[in-house]
Symmetry: C2
Subunit: 286 residues, 2 copies
């Protein structure tokens, strides 16, 4: 079966697989100073954002990613008040973070303002909390921002970035994690998307080693479905300073004053379950 | 990006999505009395079986599906001795079932002998237990077999079938589930693949209702990744007679005398975690 021009296909290079969505039309396209951003309307997945040919976000399935990038760490930290989001220009992670009543300030630092401006037009539901007085939207270099942040000024850092190839690569280095470590307060946590457990184990291994090297005392990987990304099976890796990642504020999850579509206490525990092959690999990473 | 003739693509009709694997060549192809079976060699996923244009199994990711179709039910049942597998012609589920020392007999009933014969050639690792004296391979109508099975003669029935469209449709009906119910002993369980939680909730709902209608006392859905199937996020639904599905033989899982690649006790518990949208939907199914 071949796909005609009504399909957008992303080939996942180096994995021998590709994923396609059927599109009804192109709603927007522009070359920002940093990248080419395209917004499609799809037949079944709502709006669909592509950056430099890479599948980024759809209306239909982004709740999985955005909820799992934010709620597990925020409900693990005892009292997350100050949160930074590196990347995250579509503002979906920011929206989830701001659902937490403990959060006093959430700063999103994305290099490309155009991603946010186009999201405001085409994904208004993801941007509905951009006007929250606790939200600060900066368009700047996130690494520089983290490295200049006052020591111990943050409780949680969420790295909602692109893949570790191209411009996002520097966000996967020990130097960046060292900056995160210094910016975080005691028991602070960093979480970063860490690709597919089936396809990218070498990336996850490198992240574990780099986070440990940067001084994080505990490192854990969360697993969750993410249909539009390679293999449909995705992960996020967490580093914690001066504390364990296991265990979370279960009573607060049960009584949360907001809606979720994927996340709940059982899902939190389930996401921490390590597949057998993963458990064996981690044991070997020392 | 468009895909050339070096890619096999399956369009997931009605979902607006498609998945492709890069192939190095066609190893085998035949029209059996029932269906067209094609075996490809791929660049990164090993061998790859396609039936009537539908992606069935690859060497690389089948462990997820085969382990999750067998170990959760077999470790939930107190003493699974007699197991039937409806479909399952690639023999990967049979292999997992026969790893359980409690199993005295496992009967696989697939309509199409050619699927098994081609699997023996191209997926020898999945067929390595076909010669086990406890294994019985029948090539027959699985529904007829279940309906003629002596009452209370089975402990676990695994329905490892194609999608509920075309020839597999009858395996998703209350009549078939009634036959399973009668063939199962007290506290017996049936498990069946139940498609994608993101894309096929109406199928899962129908299965829950049909299993209840057929007399099953508890019905639960398990969630797991399955990269080559639509959305990469898959499920299996379990019905149990005279018992709950929650809880399993954890000590036996910890001391299991065999290897797994995905399944373990944490994964078992995690697979039972219901996403928030699913929990809310189930509550409405009464």
């Amino acid at each position: 079966m071949s796909l005609d021009e009504n399909w957008f296909t992303e080939i996942h290079h180096g994995t021998g697989s590709a994923f396609s969505l059927q599109v009804k039309g192109k709603l927007d396209e522009e070359q920002s100073p940093f990248q080419k951003i395209t917004i499609y309307d799809t037949t079944d997945w709502g709006r669909f954002m592509v950056i430099d040919g890479c599948t980024m976000v759809t209306s239909r399935d982004n709740f999985l990613y955005h909820e799992m990038m934010s709620h597990p760490v925020l409900f693990t930290h005892e009292n997350p008040r100050h949160v930074a989001i590196i990347g995250g220009g579509d503002c979906g992670t920011l929206r989830e973070v701001l659902k937490h009543p403990t959060v006093e300030k959430a700063t999103q630092i994305d290099i490309d303002e155009r991603v946010t401006r186009l999201s405001e037009v085409h994904f208004p539901e993801l941007c509905e909390s951009n006007g929250d007085p606790r939200a600060e939207l900066l368009f700047d270099d996130g690494i520089k921002w983290i490295c200049e942040a006052p020591a111990a000024s943050l409780d949680v850092i969420i790295v909602d970035s692109t893949d570790p190839i191209g411009p996002g690569e520097v966000l996967f280095t020990p130097e960046f994690y060292k900056g995160c470590h210094e910016a975080l307060g005691q028991r602070g946590m960093v979480v970063q998307q860490s690709e597919s457990p089936l396809l990218h184990m070498e990336i996850i291994e490198k992240m574990h080693r780099s986070l440990r090297k940067a001084g994080f005392d505990d490192v854990r990987t969360l697993f969750f479905p993410q249909p539009i990304y390679p293999s449909g099976w995705w992960s996020a890796t967490i580093g914690r300073k001066g504390g364990k990642i296991e265990g979370f504020r279960e009573a607060d999850v049960e009584q949360r004053p907001f809606q979720t579509r994927y996340y709940n206490a059982d899902i939190h525990r389930g996401a921490l379950a390590q597949p057998e092959f993963f458990k064996q690999a981690v044991a070997g990473w020392g």
